[in-house]
């Protein structure tokens, strides 16, 4: 850390980033009863990471969350989503028919809940991973953000 440039920015960002992450998970898991859902939660998580990269530098962020991890997470998210559909097919239902996940009769809601939660988990991974990948691709082309660029 050179000098005391952006000291206030760093302190505030350090306080804000955990809150942003918690809020992202709140949006994710509260999506069933409130506004928001996995798409928004994924963006919020990616934004927390981007804020970390903007304030503390790209290199520590890339060391913490390497680019290969970000793009793998994105791919795994899509696989989770598609896998829920395959699971429903294996249980004798149609593709993405959550009712069939546990072989419930109509009126049972466990399969719906589990299916939606799993699918939203997949969306969360895909969106946060893809957004992080996009940011890394753009930000990785300049070594660091210089002071006069702020």
């Amino acid at each position: 850390m050179k000098g005391d440039h952006h000291m206030i920015l760093r302190v505030i960002a350090k306080c804000l980033i955990p809150l942003i992450v918690i809020y992202g998970f709140y949006v994710q898991f509260h999506g069933e009863v409130g506004a928001g859902g996995a798409f928004q939660a994924g963006i919020v998580l990616a934004v927390a990471l981007i804020l970390n990269a903007l304030v503390f530098g790209l290199t520590p962020t890339m060391r913490a969350v390497p680019p290969w991890l970000a793009r793998s997470v994105a791919a795994v998210g899509v696989l989770i989503y598609a896998g829920v559909g395959v699971w429903a097919m294996l249980m004798g239902g149609q593709y993405l028919e959550y009712q069939a996940l546990f072989g419930e009769p109509p009126g049972g809601h466990d399969g719906q809940h589990a299916g939606i939660i799993l699918v939203e988990l997949g969306v969360l991974c895909a969106v946060s991973g893809a957004m992080t990948t996009i940011f890394y691709a753009l930000a990785g082309r300049v070594a660091e953000i210089r002071d006069e660029d702020w």
Binding site: I43, L49, P60, V65, A82, L96, Q112, A130, L138, A139
Partner: protein, 210 residues
């Protein structure tokens, strides 16, 4: 969205205020030449429109606009801005008469088309009377999920959402394939500074993204 049925004069005034702010911000964006100010103002534009969406009861749309438009796009545009010059080229006056006429004509046609739109919250509008009403009636029995938006998005239209997720993934992949994965800068910085960074990143970041 031309008529405000639900609120009284107060809501109408807030609507006019928000739309006026949007208009002023858009004018400022069109006139400015500093890219940093333009990026920041486009974030402001998204934030104000998010507030306005919430005012017209489109909470999920407003939330998405705030997260994507104000948060993500601004950050990505900042990253893109650093790759180019800091200011846009100045333009000759009166060189934009043609585009202005096209915009004006399109705007007049759009305003003319809004006359046929159903009023906000009209129970007889196609959006509220057709399949939307059916979802509201059968959702609780079908899925037991309180938020109809979630059950429509993830359950009834699960296949569409799978497509959307694949689109997001493909977009990330396409950008990464075009621009590189950003690893070159990481390798370069690591080579220049073999000592680990002055500020070790928090370990929880790993768990956050996965």
């Amino acid at each position: 969205m031309t008529e405000i049925q639900m609120g009284g004069t107060g809501t109408a005034l807030i609507n006019i205020l928000f739309l006026g702010i949007l208009f002023v911000v858009a004018l400022a964006i069109a006139r400015l030449r500093s890219l940093f100010a333009i990026v920041m103002l486009s974030g402001v534009y998204s934030l104000v429109s998010a507030a306005w969406y919430i005012l017209v009861d489109a909470v999920d749309v407003g939330f998405t606009e705030a997260a994507v438009g104000a948060g993500m796009s601004t950050a990505v545009l900042l990253g893109a801005m650093l790759l180019t010059a800091r200011t846009a080229k100045p333009e000759k006056p009166f060189s934009r008469i043609g585009p202005f006429v096209v915009c004006l004509a399109a705007g007049i046609m759009l305003i003319y088309a809004t006359i046929d739109l159903p009023a906000l919250g009209d129970p007889n509008s196609p959006a509220n009377a057709g399949v939307g009403l059916t979802y509201l009636q059968i959702n609780w029995h079908d899925t037991g999920v309180p938020n109809v938006v979630t059950s429509v998005l993830a359950s009834y239209r699960g296949f569409d959402t799978l497509g959307e997720t694949a689109v997001v993934f493909t977009a990330g992949l396409a950008v990464a394939l075009l621009l590189g994965f950003g690893e070159r800068s990481l390798a370069e910085t690591l080579r220049n500074a073999p000592k680990p960074g002055a500020r070790p990143a928090p370990a929880r970041k790993d768990g956050e993204a996965s």
